[in-house]
């Protein structure tokens, strides 16, 4: 059986680089177990040392947030409470609001992008 082709992303380096023994580490196609990108809004970057995006692992959104919290303590609590996702934030898996998917149980996989945005809402009361 031929294994399924790995889908190349625009960010992948040309193949020649991967065989160059002088290529700097981290710039090749070496295996990276943590491959879900999570984009962090300005207001929460205090938890990520200012980083606009971080990477994490997990098979569901809940697991991913747990994994992130091990390196960015406090981040998870800004996103979820006992009842689930906080109403003050929107969390998207690729292009979909996870509220319309499976919420915290939404499956995630390597190559996905999770985007966090603060919900913009309010009212006269």
């Amino acid at each position: 059986m031929i294994p399924p082709a790995r889908r190349l992303k625009p960010s992948d380096k040309p193949k020649s680089l991967t065989t160059d023994c002088h290529a700097p580490r981290g710039h090749t196609l070496e295996h990276r177990p943590m491959a879900i990108e999570v984009r962090i809004p300005t207001i929460l970057r205090t938890y990520t040392g200012g980083a606009k995006s971080v990477e994490g692992a997990g098979s569901t959104l809940a697991e991913l947030l747990g994994d992130l919290d091990s390196r960015h303590q406090g981040l998870r609590e800004r996103l979820v409470d006992d009842a689930g996702l906080r109403r003050f934030v929107n969390v998207y898996l690729n292009d979909e609001d996870v509220r319309f998917l499976g919420g915290l149980e939404t499956p995630v996989t390597d190559g996905d992008t999770v985007t966090v945005l603060p919900a913009v809402a309010g009212g006269s009361r």
Partner: protein
């Protein structure tokens, strides 16, 4: 960040677009953003947003539309300089709900009240860590031909 002389500077054209949107959606609350280049503090690009709540007392950006608009701003090196919404029966001042949701410390939160059929309250605030600071609104003439003596100049000062 500190704002020694907090002020919103906005063109009369953008001012009028915000007011017109608030009037058009009355009695429901209207909402939207004005994007501008990152770090410029200048609102340039008017984006009316859907109020997913379609309510006279509450607003919420539609989450899918928000993702699209936020990505577009990102691609254009813009940020939400102004986040506006209307109050349709109360004054143009941030409510407790507004304050609890406010999460863009760099944005000017503009409130428009449409409770009076004529005349218009148009006020701007910073909301940082739950603290509200009203700021001056300066309307400039760079209006691409909008009427000079429009409701703008009077409306800016018309609180209460």
């Amino acid at each position: 960040m500190s704002y020694a002389h907090p002020m919103l500077t906005i063109s009369s054209l953008l001012y009028e677009k915000i007011v017109a949107h608030a009037r058009a959606d009355h009695p429901d609350e209207a909402c939207g953003v004005v994007a501008g280049p990152v770090g410029s503090d200048r609102p340039k690009r008017f984006i009316a947003m859907l109020n997913a709540e379609r309510s006279p007392t509450f607003y919420r950006f539609d989450s899918q539309e928000q993702l699209r608009v936020w990505r577009e701003m990102d691609d254009r090196d813009e940020e939400p300089v102004v986040i506006y919404h209307s109050h349709t029966a109360t004054e143009a001042y941030p409510s407790r709900t507004d304050i609890s949701y406010a999460s863009e410390p760099g944005a000017h939160y503009v409130l428009v009240s449409t409770r009076e059929p004529d005349g218009c309250e148009f006020r701007s605030f910073r909301i940082v860590d739950g603290e509200v600071t009203e700021e001056e609104v300066r309307i400039t003439g760079e209006s691409d031909g909008a009427a000079e003596a429009g409701p703008g100049e009077d409306g800016a000062a018309a609180a209460e």
